[in-house]
């Protein structure tokens, strides 16, 4: 057993950030006016956030809510991008909008560096990860990813109807990230629970939320111990040996980054793959064209990422200020909707349509500015391979039952139930 005093084997200190910080009253229930009471956790939002956002963009355009202790929802591209670039006035110290704000002292590192980090620490934490996520580096996973996609399709056997979210999309990023982190591939079902707990359990009572997050960090510490005992060539061992400012990373930094890579690496790509297949299943002309013109896929894929951008981020306002017509208070949330920005007709022609041969597509699906998704090249590889393999093997498919499709709630949007009739 290898001893690393950062990771004691016999005790678990409660995370300070879980004990400090502030909690607000949890408010749930149907929304009457999205301009003054928005909630990204209500079923109407999950069913179709675009209608809501398009309406707000016309008449608002920065919506307010008193839920979650108070927050704002900008819906124009220019406002979303301005906030993404303005790390002086908007902090990333918590990027999941809910009923808990960690203490200010957690900045500039945050709970899951570098996504939760502010400058100047952000740059250094991010730099550690970048080499593992370049297009070249992730390209090394491509053939294994393709083989895995084909094995999932093989497993469909002679079924007429398959669930493309449950039986296909979700497994692809789970397997890829498990390989990169060096976690057991058979732990996939646990990853799914962790993802749902982190991103969809927002309105649960605090004790339950803390218990669920503790289960995740306990799992990760167990993986860390395994890597200390059996170091190997993967991202976990890399993080355990990585140094910043002349010393190894703090335990909280290692575990926080593992949380980021595991959670952000899974449901995002799962959502993008699922939403793309959903679109093709209900749009036969686009499906036939992509089957006939596979070279169009990289262009089409960017359009799916624009129109069905899975990721919405959050920020916290640093100080009271008047900003573009609204009075923001310190610690107000910003729900930073890249999906809303991507459908702003001031920025995109035919913003509400899916145009699979769109030549110019400056979408913000992977964010803008210093927090550009560190896994964007990995996500693009997974999405391209997943769609290529599917379209090669299953050129004919349609929604088995449009009403049966279910979408996730919260900041990551994608189909979680997606029955398709194939063949």
């Amino acid at each position: 057993m290898t001893v690393d005093e950062r990771f004691p084997r016999d005790s678990r200190e409660p995370e300070d950030a879980e004990l400090l910080g502030t909690r607000n009253e949890i408010i749930t229930g149907p929304v009457a006016d999205w301009a003054t009471d928005f909630s990204h956790l209500e079923p109407a939002w999950a069913a179709d956030p675009y209608l809501i956002q398009d309406d707000l963009r016309q008449r608002c355009p920065i919506a307010r809510t008193e839920r979650f202790g108070g927050g704002w929802l900008p819906t124009r591209y220019e406002d979303v991008s301005a906030i993404a670039y303005d790390t002086e006035r908007f902090s990333s110290r918590q990027i999941v909008m809910g009923n808990f704000r960690p203490p200010r002292e957690i900045a500039p590192i945050g709970g899951a560096p570098p996504i939760s980090s502010d400058p100047p620490f952000h740059h250094d934490a991010r730099k550690l990860l970048l080499p593992a996520f370049t297009k070249t580096a992730v390209g090394r996973q491509e053939s294994a990813t393709r083989a895995f996609c084909n094995s999932l399709i093989d497993a469909f056997g002679d079924q007429d109807v398959v669930d493309a979210a449950r039986d296909y999309a979700q497994h692809i990023p789970m397997r890829v990230i498990a390989d990169m982190l060096g976690f057991p591939p058979e732990d996939g079902p646990q990853f799914r629970v962790f993802v749902e707990n982190t991103l969809e359990g927002i309105n649960l009572p605090p004790e339950e939320r803390i218990a669920r997050m503790t289960a995740l960090s306990d799992y990760l510490v167990q993986q860390v111990h395994d890597h200390l005992d059996n170091p190997r060539d993967d991202l976990t061992s890399y993080l355990l040996n990585a140094e910043l400012y002349g010393r190894k990373l703090e335990a909280s930094h290692v575990v926080g980054t593992l949380i980021l890579l595991l959670i952000a690496g899974i449901d995002t790509s799962w959502s993008a793959i699922g939403a793309s297949l959903w679109h093709l299943a209900k749009t036969p002309e686009d499906r036939r064209r992509l089957v006939a013109e596979p070279a169009l896929l990289p262009t089409a894929m960017e359009e799916f990422l624009r129109a069905y951008a899975p990721v919405t981020m959050a920020r916290l306002v640093k100080e009271d200020m008047h900003w573009r017509g609204v009075d923001m208070k310190a610690d107000d949330w910003i729900l930073l909707s890249f999906p809303a920005a991507n459908r702003d007709s001031a920025q995109f022609d035919r913003a509400g349509e899916v145009v699979i041969d769109r030549e110019i597509n400056r979408h913000a699906a992977f964010g803008l500015g210093i927090h550009r998704c560190v896994g964007s090249h990995l996500a693009r590889m997974e999405l391209r391979i997943a769609l290529e393999a599917w379209l090669e093997r299953i050129p004919e498919f349609r929604l088995a039952d449009p009403a049966a499709v279910e979408w996730s709630t919260g900041q990551i949007r994608g189909p979680r139930v997606l029955p398709l009739r194939i063949g």
Binding site: K127, L130, P131, F133, T134, K135, T136, P298, E359, I360, N361, R362, H363, A364, F366, L368, G369, I370, R372, S376, H377, R380
Partner: protein, 71 residues
């Protein structure tokens, strides 16, 4: 024509080297770099323009260079 990337603005989205691999490459951290000092060979102008038009950060500039080399 000549391409330039502003390294202070580039965030490594990689759209340029995805769309115009003859004109752009990436460094060890995934940031975009111009190839061949940014000189756009004849016939590659559409690729260059496509890369410029798809950079989410507006980090790429396409300079019209005169024969004397002035832009």
């Amino acid at each position: 024509m000549k391409l330039q990337i502003d390294p202070a603005v580039c965030q490594g989205h990689g759209r340029c080297y995805d769309l115009a691999p003859d004109l752009f490459g990436d460094d060890d951290e995934g940031y975009g770099q111009v190839l061949n000092d940014g000189i756009v060979p004849p016939g590659k102008e559409p690729q260059a323009r496509r890369a410029v038009a798809n950079c989410p950060e507006h980090a790429i500039t396409l300079l019209e260079v005169t024969e004397a080399g002035e832009s």
